[in-house]
Amino acid sequence: MSDNQVMEKEPSNFTLIFSMVLAGLISGVAIIGVYNATLEAILANKAHDLQQAVFRVLPGVSKMQKLRFEHDKLNIVTDTLADENVIYAGYDSAGKLIGYAIPNEGPGFQDTISLLYGYMPDKRKMVGNEILDSRETPGLGDKIFKDLDFVANFKDLSVDPTIVAVKKGKKAKPNEIDAITGATISSKAVVRIMNLARERWEKRLPPPGGEPELKAN
């Protein structure tokens, strides 16, 4: 340490442990303090973002409910954890179920793409899609959320039997989308992630017209 403290005597183990514990305590207090101070804002931010996303992919929705598929049925949950068994149910102002916002993620061109799409079981149609996170090539792969033409593909898209990406301008069937020229892989990755989610939720969701039996836990 300082040059002049040559004859410093060896501190005892107690001193060492004490200083560590003290430091731990102080830092713990500081961290918990700032955590508590910011928690509300952070949670609010997150909830707001999520809600906005759900509202965007499910037009006409004004209320949402987070559900998790556990023990072979859908349960209402309020935690902030997200995993592949989570789904968001969207209701209109009258409280009628409009559809589900389904998140999923999977490999993209560069890194994992995570997205949220709106699905209306009655029509068996996809009504909106939002890319939550991706690292696709700027200017090319990032057209999966920047190219309005591509995004518009998902506004009214049949999911039967599966979604298929075709070369731009070749879209002919209701279950087809126009891929992005030059970013075919990214387009296909989006479709693939959606199809996987659709398969996963096909049997979990109540039949068209039915509302999920909900049980608060």
Partner: protein, 216 residues
Amino acid sequence: MKQKELDGYQEFMKGLWKENPTFVQVLGMCPTLAVTNSAINAVVMAVATFFVLVGSSFLVSALQRWIPSQVRISLYVIIIATFVTLADYSLLATLPAVHKQLGAFIPLIVVNCIILGRAEAFASRYPVKYAVLDAAGMGAGFFLSLTMLGTVREILGTGTLFDIPLFGKGFEPWVTMILPPGGFITLGLLLLLSNWVTKKRAEFLKQVAAAQQEGL
């Protein structure tokens, strides 16, 4: 305390150029390259690092009497990690969009060698005033280089600066610049430039000295 004569101004200025953490000491490369794909990210990262650097240097310097040397590194790390957590949560609460961009790299400030390096090499030996000035200088130097890198990469990579378009609609962006290879290459070229400037400066000073000799 017997100490080398310190000049606060010098301690601050050395971090800007002579001992610039990026260009001269080549420390903290990870955030330097990872978050400089846009100027705003670079600025936020640099500000967060500045905050952690100055805060931890202040604490380390202030507490130097009470820190047993045997456990000092662990204590420094705890201090730094605390500041980083503070910065992390504050950012998350106030600028969620930017925080999402920087993602995992904010926590990685903990292992930025500049901070631990300054704590160990400077803050733990000198009075608070100089420790803070030194840290601020280093932080400012880091800020400078990060911003420089972020600016170059954003301008070339997207044709914008702080999201403001600079060149009009027809500009063809240079996408690599905001991708990883662009990071490496831009920093490599900037280092090259800094080497060149240093060399030219040395040559110039030599010439001046020679001219003075001649004059005498």
